[in-house]
Amino acid sequence: MIPRPDADSEDRVIFLRDAKFTYESGVEALKGVTLVIDKGEYLAVVGGNGSGKTTLAKHLNGLLRPTGGQVLVMGVQASTRTVAELARVVGYVFQNPDHQLFCRTVHDEVSFGPANIGLDGPEVKRRADRAIAVMNLSDIRDRPPLSLTLGLRRRVSIASVIAMEPQVLVLDEPTTGLDAREADELMAIIRRLNDEGTTIVLITHEMKLVAEHANRVVVMMDGKVVLDSDTRGAFSDLGLLRRSKLLPPPVTQLAHRLSQIGVSKDILTPQELVFELTRGDDQ
């Protein structure tokens, strides 16, 4: 909740200071959010339906402007920049890939963003090719994107955003509707992007993904950030999670149940639990 003291301004890519937002309909979706995101972080934003995650994310690239407080992107007031300008820095992947796809081929689709930000031909092509390679889409680069399966369509939509080579990538529920294998593949690719230095902001309802991938968790409830900690710490307070309409992944729940027999509560993955239990046997 409080900006972390070690957040030195060089590394700070996004800074929300007491950001508030009220929709025209009168819904107060953000009630004063303060949040610092550093370069290279893998941040998960979680919270119940209607807690304001999407609203928060839309502030990061200027699709929504705060009605109170400030949003700074790379140290610059977001309100002084157009969405098109911010899009070079903050890529936003919408939940529904079908809301983005319209071109004849995957390659055209991926080139759309870079062309919009006024790059020249060869550079557009370089970026599009790179994005297609990163998302493993080379085989289908000439297929019409709308006829692909959901998993592939989602990858195309992500490719079309990372082709603009943003420093921050915001993903709004990227795995909904995907089966386990597609989701795993997607998450592996996102992991790789993060390893290469892209800051990831992942909005999701799946705690398993959060536990396995994120290194920091922000829990939202009713338009406020109620918890901001590293992933391990986030899952130790079951009461708070429950009040935010969330459940930790089954493994962590199991670990909480097993805590009487000495299992530590901050288990995130099955491997850790196995390790913890076998260690218990040794003793």
């Binding site: 004849r104 709308l146 597609e182």
Partner: protein
């Protein structure tokens, strides 16, 4: 096989193994999906069902017409590019009229164009124009759909369709505003340039849309 009171879950095979830990006593059926499975989209050309024991048009047609009509209205309403003269708005609704006509034929063009645009007028509060719009845009869709799809939709046919359809629309509005609604010659003439711009741009965008959408959804066919 499904038994009475059974709880059956259909899911892709790769997710199925996780479900075994589920608390519900259920019967999991894993279904494999071909990698490059094409999505099922509106395949049939809309047509009036002949024969059968139903005197209604097919459900596909009802759904298609309903949705196209809603689209026309929503796009008319949402894509307003401010422009001063009489009706006070320049919009891309025209593009949807031409799109429906070129993609699905004159019947869709007439119904969706006419009703959709009239509905937009009603909802936006220009109800007074709704009857005129119904006739004007309906005629536009009908004419554009008939001419534009001649000879399998050659470029000149589209162009001719846009010109004739647009002429019908502009004339209808002009006559109605001049003689029926009695705005006076001045106001009726003042709207003609907006309408011409709207037809030109709407026609171009509508043709592009028809082209793009047919390409993205090959199953739409001709």
């Amino acid at each position: 096989m499904v038994f009475r009171s059974e709880f059956v879950v259909l899911m892709p095979c790769s997710t199925a193994p996780q479900v075994r830990f589920n608390v519900y006593p259920c019967h999991v059926v894993s279904v494999g999906v071909a990698e490059d499975e094409q999505r099922d989209v509106v395949k049939e050309k809309p047509r009036i069902l002949s024969g059968g024991d139903s005197k209604f048009v097919s459900p596909r047609t009802v759904a298609l017409y309903g949705v196209l009509t809603a689209l026309t209205a929503a796009i008319t309403y949402m894509t307003v590019i401010p422009f001063p003269p009489t009706r006070g708005y320049f919009n891309l609704g025209e593009a949807m009229v031409f799109f429906s006509a070129f993609t699905f034929g004159w019947r869709a063009g007439a119904i969706c164009g006419g009703v959709g645009s009239a509905a937009a007028d009603l909802l936006a509060g220009f109800g007074m124009f709704a009857p005129t719009t119904l006739v004007a845009k309906g005629a536009e869709g009908l004419v554009a759909g008939t001419i534009g799809r001649m000879k399998g939709g050659k470029p000149w046919a589209y162009a001719l369709g846009i010109i004739c359809g647009g002429a019908c629309m502009i004339t209808t509005y002009f006559l109605s505003e001049w003689l029926l609604l009695d705005f006076g010659l001045g106001a009726a003439i003042a709207e003609i340039p907006t309408n011409i711009a709207q037809v030109t741009i709407g026609g171009a965008v509508g043709t592009l849309l028809s082209h793009y959408v047919k390409q993205s959804m090959p199953s739409l066919g001709r």
